[in-house]
């Protein structure tokens, strides 16, 4: 636990150092830029709200990737699972009758999102278990396939004439916003935190968590004590996909209230960063999502000082740093 924190702290400090060099290269004083980033984000309700909005979706995809990593599987298909979730969520939302009450509509849309993402995860897991196809290969390939299918379905059935936007979902399916200066932050944040809590509990306190972590640490040991490794792998990939799909609740139900081409793009890949930075722990993932959300929201806030590509580079630097920091901490006695 302590080591995990150390690794994350070292990574963040290293990223800060590299980021400072980038800022210098952009001709600005690093101290000034970091301070402004903090001050402007914290002092503007809108920027804080945007931070939370970004962090909400990142928590879902981060938890999804972390669940797979915990079981020794690398799901880099979060992007595709999220795209499928967004489409399914919106399609169910628009198909619901106008007067559907929230108590039915919201769970229905959330379930559709989870089911769509989960189905893709299950396919990846099944290919791994039945055919030995490596999940990194299949999941990244499925990203492309899902994107293509989503676009085709969008064109055929969803998009209003000549646009890349679908009809609005039923009012009952819309999640309320959190206010916060007109930002996109919405009640999906509560769902994300609840899911993170549930993940923590499952992981630490149940035989399911024990089983998937055993599979992740030592497949042979898991097998020899009678854990059905293949079944665990398929279920974990299904769950991982479902969690990624759930990010749609923030995008569709909480913010846009409709399907849009490309809605949520990038959140899947950034979820990998959140999982790695959060060291696969549910609480860590939430914290990492906030940090990454701060980087992208804060980056926009100081857009007049430094180019916006800087924040994208920083997010990459954070992942590199965490990958490099873990062995340093591991080696210490």
């Amino acid at each position: 636990m302590k080591r995990e924190l150390e690794a994350a702290a070292i990574a963040l400090l290293a990223s800060l150092a590299v980021g400072s060099l980038l800022v210098l290269a952009a001709g600005q004083s690093p101290g000034h830029v970091w301070w402004q980033m903090l001050v402007r984000t914290c002092s503007s309700e809108y920027d804080l709200g945007q931070l939370l909005y970004k962090a909400t979706a990142l928590t879902f995809t981060g938890l999804g990737v972390a669940l797979a990593l915990d079981a020794g599987l690398f799901n880099i298909g979060a992007e595709g699972q999220l795209a499928a979730g967004v489409l399914a969520c919106a399609m169910v939302g628009t198909a619901l009758p106008e007067g559907t009450p929230a108590i039915v509509a919201i769970p229905a849309c959330a379930l559709a999102a989870a089911a769509a993402g989960g189905a893709i995860g299950a396919l990846i897991g099944a290919l791994r278990v039945a055919r030995g196809a490596h999940e990194v290969i299949t999941s990244i390939m499925l990203n492309a396939i899902v994107a293509g299918i989503a676009l085709w379905i969008g064109n055929q059935y969803v998009f209003a004439n000549g646009t890349t936007t679908g009809r609005a979902i039923a009012p009952g399916a819309q999640l309320p916003g959190l206010g916060l200066g007109g930002s996109a932050a919405n009640a999906a944040l509560v769902l994300a935190l609840a899911v993170a809590g549930a993940m923590w509990w499952l992981r630490a306190r149940t035989t399911w968590g024990q089983a998937w972590r055993a599979v992740g640490s030592d497949r042979e040991a898991a097998r020899s004590v009678g854990i059905a490794v293949s079944r665990v792998q398929v279920l974990v990939m299904t769950g991982s996909g479902a969690l990624c799909g759930l990010a749609a609740t923030s995008f569709v139900l909480g913010h846009k209230h409709a399907y849009e081409q490309g809605l949520g793009t990038g959140t899947g890949f950034l979820g990998i960063s959140a999982a790695l930075l959060g060291r696969v722990h549910p609480v860590g993932v939430v914290a990492a999502a906030l940090v990454l959300g701060f980087l992208s929201s804060g980056g926009l806030a100081v857009g007049d000082l430094v180019p916006k590509e800087l924040t994208e580079m920083l997010q990459g630097v954070v992942v590199l740093a965490i990958a490099a920091a873990v062995p340093i901490v591991r080696r210490a006695p």
Partner: protein
Amino acid sequence: MIEAALTKRYGGREVLRAAKLEVAAGSVHALVGENGAGKSTLVKIVAGIVRADGGTLAIGGKRIDLARWDRVAARAAGIGIVQQHGAFAGTLSVVENAVLGVERGPILELAPVARALAELGERVGLPIDPWVRANELPLGAAQRAEIVTALHHGAKLLVLDEPTAVLAPVEVDGLLATLRRLAREGTTIVLVTHKLDEVRQVADAVTVLRAGESVARFAGELDIRVIARAMVGAELPEPARVEAPRDDAAPALECIGVGVGAALAGVDLAVRRGELVGVAGVDGNGQRELALAIAGLAPHAGRVRIAGRDVSAEPPARRLAAGLAYVPEDRHHGGLVLDASVADNLALGRRDVTGAFRIDRARVARFAAERIAELDVRPPDSAALARELSGGNQQKLVIGRELSRPSLAAVVAAQPTRGVDLGAVARIHDRLRAAARAGAGVLVISADLDELLVLCHRIVVLLRGRIVGTAGERAALGALMTGAAR
């Protein structure tokens, strides 16, 4: 030849505390001690592989500057070492390995070196083929090649770290004879081992290490019991044998025509309730596959019955539920989750302890405390990571988890004490005996004949995937294991 008093710390832990080693030139000197006593560290410092933190070292009467003592200096001073797991690069030939790190120029002249190696091998009675790739050599041959290479580099002092751990009994005898001959011809030998039989056979003198200190040095007539007492610091009680079950005792474990690919060819084997049956054999003759097949971890032909119930088509979980306990041969791959805690490892897969879904943490803690007390796991800390424990204590976790299964009918223990120190061996053997006394049939698969001889009622021998016979004493077993018996 060697006069050493060395200190070494890893992190905050002192693994050597001014550990003394005095070796006379031209002698065979045994360095014995339990796992973790510091034997390997001590010889690695002498051979320049590990740097000392303090102390003194003199080689051939010359005081060594420890700060500059590395492998190159040690090799130049005539110190060769053959390490536990072999140091040859697998994809290179023996001769290429022999010049690795020694040859200075850019152009390799291999042929003369190969000729020299082959000749030297003939002369000292260790024939080798210098052109074979190291990973194609059987373990015994690879070890011979390493010894010849060390001598070729001009070693006057040869250090061997647990060289017999990987050898068949016949190969062990050959190696020990070679060591004696080398010593007669003037090479000094330091033999690291924990097998006291070998010490008696070959050593002129013995140094005993315990917890990083040299606690005794013996020369001349060696009394094994005295050495053993010095190693563990206490007398090991003579264990009471388990009475053999009656002939009509119910079957606990039955294998009927069990086969796995080409490695295991139709093995028939039955273990009765209360019986301890040993499976002997040189590593790689189907022992591994037999254990995996019984546990349901490898697809197999034939039938497996546990407590009379046919489980041939059932997955591992069902076999365990039918009353099987399975101790895999490698605690690091299959036995334990090294990054999980002691308590989590003890409860791993044990739904009877954890509960079906929500983990009953109080019960897990109680269960872990019981197992820790039962097997004297050290440190007695259920929150420690399995990785932080010594090999012997790690193995106690596997034994503790498996042998405490409810309604235990059959135990398959593969290499239950491999790389485990004497104190832990005694605990583990006691636990296996207790399982038999309580009515389980115990199958012990081991490369260590001594272990099987002290534990088992009956020992069968596996050779090339078949059971080739049953025997009750060392020579007959050795003959069966190598195919010499007909």
